[in-house]
Subunit: 438 residues, 2 copies
């Protein structure tokens, strides 16, 4: 068996993943609408031999609360498929994964846009399928309204199947067949007749076949139905596990489901998020972390803490005092309990708790030397918790630059990460099976 | 009054506008899926100081008839917004106009994609609004089906209004306001509450304001309701007039409608199509034209001729004989009559007629020296038939290269076309008024 390598994604987000990244002196505040910034960051990821860059999305502003919206930069001016098309022609190997929802479009249009990105990039496109749980998005598309979870997933299942059918309906070598007498060899086009409850498609995708068979499918399902959809259709799943035990449980659960759909263990890569803050020394890393934390406005931190705790408001309580006793809700009891327990255990004030949770946004955070960060990643990679990681740099470009310069060579030295790309397509680099046709 | 300059668009279409372009020895057959080809052609247009490049679209294959589909290359592998995002970062001044339909998406998503293109390009985006009359498209989006003309336009009116409202809902300077303490100045965001029969939007566009106020609106309305929509909302209209008299009538008609909506005569540019074949001498130009015509496969030409004549099939008649007598239909009587008359007047065979109409696809074709082509354009520009032209080069890149090298300097010498771009945004170069806000 060949050496097993971890897969790496670079989760790009405007100025950085840290909630106060845009206020840091190293930050480029208007990063979210600066295409040159995104191209530069994508090239850093490619220099680091990352499998892919990843762009999140929601078709709406992200915060209804003006305090949060005014002070917490999260999103970009760029719709992800447009952004990645511009990046595609400025990179050569790194995969390009765009988030897109199945709730407010139809399969033909989206399948076609991803086919275009795949052609533009020579086979590096990936689609992170989401179902859009946000009310703010639903209000922008009032012809539908926010559907309940089960309906969203029912629609997502159909949407994915119709898109896959469209991509598979065009064989390799359909256009400009040998001889040059005809433009298209119609025997290689297989019209799709896909009829479901939410969609119907009778046609042929207006595109050549993908250079990688079809675009890579990505998902981040956490619910049962979400994990099943991932096990059935996805090549990559992202996850948001804090502890190693949580990550192992998620990993085992998703891998177990693959058998149901006749798929092998290597056909789906599990890539949890990691938010690394790297310094040449542990002290330097911690100082970087503290510097970022200092920039979190109290209003933002406390409003986020309140939303994590499912309470309306915490502003009546002293910032430097402890959390008040509060009612429990069933919905997110475990996260609530985690916050309350941490506050009591470490004697943290509201301000301290707010900064703690706002900064990392609840993701797995590792602060340390290159060797310490590599240790943490390698441990989860080897112990059945991950096939790779989605790296969420706190600050762009410096946070990703640190990771590529300091951590990637360490992972390569240990033999757990590639030194060169295996190929030019995302599918080839991920090492996931091609669809049968074409 | 300052010198009046004509506006020029370069209508890009894979290997060329001539139906047999892809079979020509100078052609790059797989042009439609080669992004480097498109970037090179866009740069030729920019070198020629063109106002814009223009990408047509339909979300479907273009021909149901396999004879036509197999032999007549028309379309590209690239969805236009993706294609133009990739071109945006490889050009600096030329406008980028993508065709997109109002029939199969909702306003928020499309407004956001055009806002992204506008940000990516620094204010060079334009939207050619179409309503999609093709059944092939409707079959790909069966949740709706092909709507009758009046319903398509009713939907288009609402779609355009909602998109305009979203673009206008964000003021200049909303993000990163002076002082740097907040990410967004919420007093400059104006939530849209747009409720119509087909759409409802309650939200704020996730984008900064367009660098050109808002994207340029383009239309090609030929019906009454289409011309009214253009007069009310568009900055540019394309037209397909053959004769000067037709072009003048269309021009006067559209300009007259502007008053109804309180708009000035210069607020809407009328740009008919022209298919120029340019040679250093008239003989060379004619030879280029004949060479292209030779490549039209008889099956394609005759099938197209049959479709123009609204008859099922012409294959029972000798190719080198005259057209048979045929029944008239009301629908496109005038085009039918034009073909029948031309055949009789010039004694053309079915093959000759087929080539004549298939090659130019019914657009205004000018074959001649740079001076002859400039004469033809200048005449229509000065005689109230056009504010500019949408140039449909028969073959890419050579046909556009010929135009830029030979005809553009001639137009510049005559003082009817710019020598340098007036600015960096499409709106500035077109010289059309900015929307009020922002």
């Amino acid at each position: 068996m060949s050496e097993r390598h971890m897969k790496l994604g670079a989760f790009l987000m405007a100025g950085g993943h840290h909630i106060a990244a845009w206020r840091h002196p190293d930050a480029h505040a208007p990063a979210g609408s600066d295409i040159d910034h995104f191209i530069a960051v994508a090239r850093i990821a490619e220099r680091g031999k990352f499998d892919m860059i990843f762009i999140e999305d929601a078709a709406a502003i992200r915060e209804r609360n003006p305090d949060l919206a005014s002070q917490a930069a999260r999103s970009t001016a760029f719709e992800p498929l447009s952004l990645l098309a511009a990046i595609a022609v400025n990179t050569s190997h790194v995969g390009l994964v765009a988030t897109a929802s199945t709730s407010y479009t139809e399969p033909y249009g989206l399948a076609r846009s991803f086919a275009a990105l795949d052609q533009l990039s020579g086979g590096r496109a990936g689609w992170n399928l989401v179902t859009s749980a946000s009310e703010l998005e639903a209000e922008n598309f009032a012809s539908s309204g926010l559907r309940p979870h089960s309906q969203r997933y029912e629609r997502a299942e159909e949407f994915a199947d119709a898109a896959l059918a469209l991509w598979d309906g065009v064989e390799d070598g359909t256009y400009f067949p040998a001889g040059g007498e005809t433009f298209a060899d119609h025997s290689k086009l297989h019209p799709v007749h896909w009829h479901g409850k939410h969609f119907a498609v009778d046609g042929i995708l207006e595109s050549q076949r993908s250079p990688q068979g079809r675009p890579i499918m990505v998902q981040a399902g956490a619910s049962d139905v979400g994990k099943d959809l991932a096990a059935r259709t996805a090549d990559v799943v992202f996850a948001a596990s804090q502890t190693k035990a949580e990550a192992q449980a998620y990993y085992a659960d998703v891998k177990l489901r693959l058998g149901k759909y006749g798929r092998g263990q290597d056909d789906l890569k599990v890539m949890p998020g990691i938010s690394p803050i790297v310094g040449a020394t542990e002290e330097e890393a911690k100082a970087k972390y503290r510097a970022l934390q200092e920039f979190i406005p109290d209003a933002v931190g406390v409003a986020l803490l309140a939303s994590y705790l499912s309470v309306q408001d915490l502003s009546a309580y002293p910032l430097d005092g402890p959390l008040p006793e509060m009612p429990q809700t069933n919905l997110i009891q475990s996260r609530q309990q985690l916050i309350v327990d941490l506050g009591k255990r470490e004697g943290l004030s509201i301000r301290e708790l707010a900064r703690h949770f706002a900064g990392a946004r609840g993701h797995w955070q590792v602060v340390g030397t290159p060797s310490q960060v590599a240790d943490a990643m390698e441990e989860r990679f080897l112990d059945g918790a991950a096939d790779g990681f989605n790296v969420m740099a706190p600050l762009f470009p410096s946070g990703l630059e640190d990771f590529v310069t300091l951590v990637v060579p360490e992972l390569q030295r240990r033999g757990v990460f590639r030194k060169e790309y295996e190929g030019r397509t995302l599918r080839r680099n991920l090492g996931v099976a091609s669809p049968s046709k074409g």
